[in-house]
Each structure stands twice: as structure tokens, then as C-alpha cells.
Symmetry: C2
């Protein structure tokens, strides 16, 4: 299974399948079908079978998928059968919400550090974290060998912060700043910008 | 220009172009090229030209695009050459962050109401809003003719809240609850779930 060979659009659907399967498991379900999963996530059964079959034969004709088996396989494929430490850069409202968010641990993630440049914030607590001085960020991240970051900084600061994160060894950035950032090819970026998502919908409204 | 004819993947890129163009304009720039825009947003110049040409001829060979003209056209195409009122359902940390977020107004959006089911929260203020009782939500949204909502509720409550929003006439939902929801075909949903975005990146990490 070569990372380059599977289209990223398929990779993007796997976490959605995993999330739905985890909810099924929490509700006590043991098996499911591509039809049932498809209805839950709003994707066709054929697409789901095709996506999953990229990685092997995980279901049996007629009996469907074992939910726990498929969860294990998807966690393995997505590399979340382990915990990833993440730093948060920017301790504004969004940084606060993420630092206090309870939904990371069962998805493979653990917030490890929170940074801000504002001296008035440094030393304060959010969630279980003491906000650290962003000037120490590169060194702190590098020595802890942290590979993931969430950036909740203003758009004007985003590129400079991203550059520092990359220098520190970060390989995956979830960017909440409402701007595109440039990173080297071996670094992944995902964007969360509510206005962008909303504009994708207003196109269809009248 | 028929909404059904343009692939949604193209529509999804237009807000990213618009965001970059707005930053260029804020920085005093007057014209740009598909090359320059492409470098900013990490999309090829050819793809940008192809995407934009779906909607008409907005640039001139050799002289590139007028930024203000292209902004106007994209805002018109995306229906954000007007203000959209939005409700927030769920006044937890994320609802707070969104209610206080300053980045909506220059993108076409205005938070109009915030709802929660928790009696302890109802009547409290966040941002400029008084948190309203979710039991009044359907009626309040319907009489204000609001078409858009952001849902920041627990996964377990998401489907029931979505059903009520649809009943109230909402046609576009930005869902922050970490679960898929089912809505009628004439209602759009976009998802923001940091864990899903993060898992899409861990696939590529080792």
C-alpha cells in the first residue's frame, strides 16, 4: 500500500467512515453493510466498497463488515492506532475551544502544548495547559519531536508561524487562519475556515 | 450558469480564490495573474484559469485579472454580494468562539441568533448576543426567514437539531458536531471536524 498511489480524495473519506463506525460500535452494533454505512454518511454503498477495497478485502460477500475489525483496519491505515501529540499556536477563542475540546482522545490525538505571542496570555491556564511563550516554540516542539500543529492565529501571522512550525519539524498543520499558507512538499496542510465552507453553500442558495 | 452543471469541487475552490484576492486587495494590489494567485493558494495556474472560465471571460490575455473585478464576480457567483444571517445552535466553547468571531462580516455573513438547550446558559451574553432558548428556535428562525445555521452541539444531538433547522426553513448547515447528518436533497451540509481533518494528514505521516 503506497501512499502516493491512493488518491487523496479517498483518504479524505476514510476518517468519515471511521467516525461513523466508531459511533455504531458505541451504540453496541457488531456488523454493518456498505448500504447501512452509506446511508449514515451520505455516500453510495458502491463508493464505500470501492474505497475500502483499495486497502484489501475487509468484508465478506453477504455478511458485510465486522465493525470492530474495520475500525482496527481504518485506524491502522490512517496511522491513528497510536496517539499523536499536537501543539496549538494561538490562544484566542478558537485556541481555547480546541485546548478544551474532549473529542480528540478517541480519534488518536492529544493536545500537548499551547503557545501564544501575547505576554499577557503566557502563563495563563486553558484546559489543562499553561500557555507558553511562542518564542520558545521551535525549540520546545523540536525537542518533544511533535509532528502536528493546529494554527489559530490571525491571517497576517499565519505564514510566519507556519515557517517556524516547519523549521521545528512539524509535518502536518491544521490551519484555522483564514488564509492559504505555503509549506514544503513533505508537509501537509488542511484548512478550516467557516466562511469558506459557508460560501461553498451560498452558491446553491437563492 | 446552471448550479447543477458546475462540479461542486470547483465551487469549493472559488471561496479560496476569493479569500486570496481579498487579501491582495487589502494589501493594495490592483491586478494579478493566475500564476501569482496559484502560488498563493497552492493550486496550478491552469486549474485556476479553467475554474474561473466556467463562469465567463474575466481576464485578458497578457494583462491578467483586475482584482476588484474578479472579487465582484466571485462574490456574485457565490451569492455573497449580500449579507446572510446565520444562527448558531450550541453555546459551548465552539459556539462562543464563532459568536465572537470577527471574520464573518467581510465574507458575507452575520451571526443573527445563538441558541442553547441549557437553561443555565439561556439569557447569558456571548459576543453581542443573548443566548436564546432552543425550544423557540424553529419559530424564531422561520419568522426571521434565516436560511443558514452553524451547529456546535454534541454528536448525539446533531440529527435532532438538524431536523428542527430543516423544519424551520434552513437550507445550509455548517456542522461542527463530529457526526454525519441526514438532510433532504435541497439542504446543503458542510462539515468541520478537526479530528477528521487531522486523520486525513496522519495517513501520510510515519
Amino acid at each position: 500500500m503506497n501512499a502516493d498511489k491512493i488518491p487523496d480524495i479517498i483518504i479524505g473519506r476514510l476518517p468519515v467512515y471511521l467516525r461513523a463506525l466508531q459511533r455504531m460500535a458505541e451504540n453496541g452494533m457488531k456488523t454493518t453493510s456498505s448500504q447501512e454505512l452509506g446511508e449514515l454518511v451520505g455516500i453510495s454503498a458502491a463508493q464505500i466498497r470501492k474505497d475500502i477495497s483499495q486497502f484489501g478485502e475487509f468484508g465478506k460477500q453477504g455478511t458485510g463488515y465486522s465493525i470492530s475489525f474495520l475500525i482496527d483496519k481504518l485506524r491502522e491505515i490512517l496511522n491513528v492506532n497510536r496517539m499523536w501529540d499536537i501543539v496549538i499556536v494561538g490562544a484566542g477563542d478558537m485556541g481555547h475551544a480546541l485546548a478544551r475540546y474532549q473529542g480528540f482522545s478517541n480519534r488518536g490525538f492529544r493536545v500537548a502544548m499551547v503557545f501564544d505571542i501575547d505576554n499577557a496570555k503566557v502563563g495563563q491556564k486553558i484546559g489543562g495547559f499553561i500557555i507558553e511563550d511562542a518564542s520558545t516554540m521551535t525549540e520546545r516542539i523540536r525537542s518533544a519531536k511533535i509532528k502536528m500543529a493546529m494554527m489559530t492565529v490571525p491571517a497576517s501571522a499565519a505564514q510566519a508561524v507556519a515557517d517556524k512550525l516547519v523549521q521545528a519539524g512539524v509535518r502536518a498543520i491544521l490551519n484555522y487562519a483564514p488564509t492559504s499558507i505555503n509549506v514544503p512538499h513533505n508537509v501537509r496542510v488542511q484548512y478550516i475556515d467557516p466562511s469558506t465552507h459557508l460560501q461553498r453553500m451560498t452558491y446553491y442558495l437563492d
